[in-house]
């Protein structure tokens, strides 16, 4: 008995050693990466070297891992660019480098609160960026606002965070209430007679809040909602939902939730070949490059996106609006991102970079004075590669994003090749929207 | 003499197999009743009916003059009935001491912690288990396990004790030891005992009366002498009447 136990312990030790070694080997890469930052921190400033600490958590593990990783890439790119230029110039003339302090939150709000506390009190960071997702950001805000620390919320589209009376949290994303409204606007533009809408969203926090806002907007615009249902998270089969949509006589479908279910929904919708449906807009899934795996099924599907590499925000556009342009152009950002990570940035990455950019703007104007930073943010109205950024300043929805708006992408087939193009708003559009969706012909 | 246990016309069957078919018997206060019969005769089933594990299909069970048919086991136990199990069921991850202590705690007596521990110790000493008090019950051998089974039953200070083959698997000296203890326990605790037993000489020696079950029916009842001479019993139980008679002779001669 005992000898067997020893054997087992031995096996376990060996296995753990192997895995540990593997882990060390795999983590070497990231370790080197972080090791570079202090090198870049060498004092280059005129007076004395100083370091600005930016803190946040990111979901290296758990269900938000993928989106979070891209957001982190964006933030890292920003920090590298700033540091390679010697840092940010403060109002007092000092030039300070940026140090990112971040931890893994496992996609769990319990960890988020623990870690933001650590960032503020232990690591004594100067400014904060939110974790990815609304749920985690809500949890983080409950900690950070009490300490009067400015937090730029990126990857968090929920409206409700900003109705809680927080004073130091600022949202970069277009809020959920406006997530799908442009898809409704586009439909109005394309076809005045298409009024029978089916709503099929995931029964999850984010999708549900988009759904209720969209529903209200549809009703306001005189649409008739002929079908409304919510599917449980993790749903893979949509046959009965599609049957009911088909039977409802809907001519447009708005819905979705996460990538996987949106993907399956479109796949099965296409196979079902419901001729009556002329317009399909799906949450989250379409902007993902992996959506192209659907092939023909993807053609004509529209999806709202916070940002796309093809957006047409430019200093000229800013000038037209009479607001300041700040930071790199869209092309500069895309090029820099591509050269660092070898792939085209998506909106999560862009959001991460933009969060850094906003902080950079604030630091240049306000230094490390939080109250001053708050004042600047409250009155901010600029345009960047991310688009227009302006926050709601009254207490009832303080910090809510009101400047930025979504773009709509549509998968189109040009010369037999499947591509994702921006179709709305007109100012940003790369091509005209295909209508009706090809399968209904 | 008051009647402690009365079983009346009890039937019990399991999915078509008739385990008990109209068994009746009466146990008076202070007696030891032996319950014998070949394996599968329904003896343990009868115990389970008396202690409330099984509800009889028909018939009634009376304890201390109260009809307890269909009562839950713990309520019957609280009336002052203790039993041992054919396959001992000690609480394996508790020590011998803890096993007895638990049993004391749930007897009707109200004892302080100190008194309960003293009582447990007394019972362990009585059964010669004091040197094993700190062993886990799962580490005991069969003989000690059987003693613990008895200790736990006695710890309840019962009025009626049901023993299910407490001697099975013991060697002759262990059997003698147990018999001695059962006799002494009967005196000291003022017990009434019903015992299922296969070790014939033991039951013949110790029982005041014997009931023979066979295929779920009561085959015979009487004093050990009567039972030993009953040809039906001999036929059913031992097979060869001649052989059986031979040992009854020996038995009688030894008693004298």
């Amino acid at each position: 008995m005992a000898s067997r136990a020893i054997l087992w312990i031995a096996i376990a030790v060996v296995v753990i050693a192997i895995i540990g070694g593997l882990a060390w080997y795999l983590s070497r890469e990231t370790a080197q990466e972080t090791a570079q930052t202090p090198q870049a921190l060498q004092p280059t400033g005129e007076k004395e070297g100083c370091v600005i600490k930016i803190g946040f958590t990111t979901s290296l593990t758990g269900k938000l891992q993928k989106e979070s990783a891209e957001q982190l890439n964006g933030i890292k790119l920003w920090a590298d660019e700033v540091n390679s230029k010697g840092g940010i110039k403060l109002p007092d003339g000092r030039k300070c480098t940026v140090k990112l302090v971040y931890y893994d939150d496992e996609s769990k709000s319990a960890r988020v609160q623990e870690l933001y506390q650590k960032l503020i009190t232990d690591d004594k960071v100067d400014y904060l960026i939110s974790p990815y997702s609304s749920g985690l950001t809500a949890a983080a805000a409950a900690v950070t606002d009490g300490y009067h620390k400015v937090m730029i919320a990126t990857g968090a589209a929920s409206d409700s965070i900003f109705t809680k009376g927080y004073q130091y949290v600022y949202q970069l994303y277009t809020p959920a209430s406006r997530y799908m409204t442009s898809a409704v606007d586009l439909l109005l533009e394309l076809d005045q007679s298409n009024k029978k809408v089916a709503l099929l969203f995931e029964n999850s926090k984010f999708a549900k809040s988009v759904a209720s806002a969209t529903k209200a907007y549809l009703e306001e615009k005189g649409f008739q909602i002929v079908y409304e249902d919510y599917y449980p998270p993790g749903t893979t089969d949509f046959a009965t939902y599609i049957a009911k949509i088909s039977a409802s006589g809907a001519t447009a479908l708005l819905g979705g939730g996460h990538f996987q279910d949106g993907f399956n929904l479109v796949k099965q919708l296409y196979s079902a070949n419901i001729k009556s449906i002329k317009y399909v807009a799906i949450l989250v899934a379409p902007p993902e490059p992996a959506f192209a795996e659907l092939g023909d099924a993807a053609v004509g599907v529209i999806g709202p996106s916070q940002w796309e590499p093809g957006v047409k925000y430019s200093p000229e556009a800013a000038k037209k609006l009479g607001i300041e342009w700040y930071g790199p152009t869209v092309d500069e950002f895309v090029k820099a991102y591509k050269s660092k990570y070898g792939k085209t940035p998506g909106y999560h990455a862009a959001g991460g970079y933009a969060a850094g950019l906003v902080l950079q703007y604030v630091i240049e104007k306000a230094g490390l004075d939080t109250e001053k930073a708050k004042e600047i943010l409250d009155n901010l109205d600029i345009m960047t590669f991310w688009g227009r950024i302006k926050f709601y300043k009254e207490a009832d929805k303080h910090g809510l994003q009101i400047g930025h708006s979504m773009v709509l992408v549509q998968w189109q087939k040009t010369d037999g090749k499947l591509t994702k193009v921006i179709v709305y708003p007109e100012a940003a559009a790369e091509a005209k929207a295909v209508y009706p969706i090809p399968w209904s012909k | 003499m008051s009647v402690v246990l009365r079983v009346e016309n009890v039937y019990k069957s399991f999915g078509g197999v008739k385990a008990l078919e109209g068994v009746s018997m009466t146990v008076n206060e202070g007696m030891i009743l032996g319950l014998i019969g070949p394996n599968g005769a329904g003896k343990t089933t009868l115990f389970n009916v008396i202690t409330g594990y099984y509800k009889p299909d028909k018939g009634r069970v009376e304890l201390f003059g109260r009809d307890v048919t269909g009562w839950p086991t713990h309520k019957i136990a609280q009336l002052g009935v203790a039993r041992t199990f054919q396959i001992p069921k000690p609480f394996p991850d508790l020590t011998v001491f803890e096993n007895v202590l638990v049993s004391i705690k749930f007897s009707s007596r109200k004892l302080s912690e100190q008194e309960a521990a003293e009582e447990a110790k007394r019972i362990l000493e009585f059964l010669g288990l004091d040197s094993h008090a700190h062993m886990l019950a799962s580490q005991l051998n069969v003989a000690l396990e059987k003693r613990l089974e008895l200790a736990r039953a006695l710890a309840r200070q019962p009025r009626l004790l049901l023993l299910d083959e407490v001697l099975a698997g013991l060697n002759p000296s262990e059997v003698a030891y147990m018999l001695e203890k059962i006799k002494r326990a009967k005196q000291e605790f003022g017990l009434t005992i019903v015992m299922i037993e296969h070790v014939m000489h033991a039951v013949m020696n110790i029982a005041d009366r014997i009931v023979v079950l066979h295929l779920g029916k009561k085959l015979a009842e009487g004093t050990p002498e009567e039972i030993a001479r009953d040809p039906r019993v001999i036929e059913a139980y031992l097979g060869d009447p001649k052989l059986a008679l031979a040992f009854v002779e020996r038995l009688s001669s030894k008693k004298r």
């Binding site: - | 070949p38 698997g169 070790v199 060869d240 031979a246 040992f247």
Partner: protein, 239 residues
């Protein structure tokens, strides 16, 4: 006479608790040997050790001249050591036919199923009538017959029957005993019986061993043992 099974100084038990303290016995080829003794003496344990479902702690088991002490039980069955267990151990949710097929599970027996079935039905015609009945619904006597029949399906060279008369009415028990005797006569299989009922066992056996608390107390031709008053001491544990 040639012996089919020889056990030398067998020690075994359950967990750490010893039950057998050096049992030695022989079964002659073609004989019926009885192993009797009181409850808990170790009779069933002996049989389980012989068939190999209990490991041997010490001692030797030789079957047909071959040492099988270390052979796993499923290979011993294939060599022809077959035990009809106490409590019958039939498979209640299987039909009678499937139970019989399970009997012929070992490779040697599988190829001769047709013959075996015929022979078994010859001895137990009642089973043939209930071929598709669930074994669990048979009466006690029929279950015992099925258990023995299933044992025969394995083409045993040594058939061990544990407590065949258990829980049976005397008439039925006698019938079973006669069947066991008939099996020896018609099939020439060596048989080792364990019985709680001394009379039954000694009646059909040629030779008998008396087991007491894990040791052999006595042995001899069955008819002599039957007459020996000492048997009462051993069997009933009297002093």
């Amino acid at each position: 006479m040639e012996s089919i099974l020889e056990i030398d100084n067998l020690h075994t038990g359950y967990g750490k608790i010893p039950v057998l303290w050096g049992v030695s016995l022989r079964v002659e080829k073609g004989s019926i040997t009885a192993l009797i003794g009181s409850n808990g003496a170790g009779k069933t344990t002996t049989l389980r050790a012989i068939v190999g479902v209990l490991p041997t702690w010490k001692g030797r088991i030789v079957f047909m001249g071959e040492d099988v002490t270390k052979t796993p039980s499923y290979l011993r069955v294939e060599k022809g050591i077959v035990l009809v267990p106490e409590g019958r151990g039939i498979f209640p949710q299987m039909t009678v036919y499937e139970n019989l097929l399970m009997g012929a599970f070992n490779r040697r027996a599988r190829s001769k199923i047709g013959d075996s079935l015929e022979r078994v039905f010859n001895i137990f015609p009642r089973l043939k009538e209930r071929l598709n009945q669930k074994a669990g619904t048979l009466s006690g006597g029929e279950q015992q017959m099925l258990a023995i029949a299933r044992g025969l399906m394995a083409l045993p060279k040594l058939l061990m029957v544990d407590e065949a008369s258990l829980g049976l009415a005397p008439k039925l028990a006698i019938e079973i005993m006669e069947l066991i005797k008939r099996i020896r006569e018609e099939e020439g299989i060596s048989i080792l019986v364990v019985e709680q009922n001394v009379h039954y066992a000694l009646n059909i056996a040629d030779y008998a061993y008396v087991l007491e608390t894990g040791r052999i107390r006595m042995e001899g031709p069955a008819n002599e043992i039957a007459k020996n008053p000492e048997i009462i001491r051993a069997y009933l544990g009297m002093h």
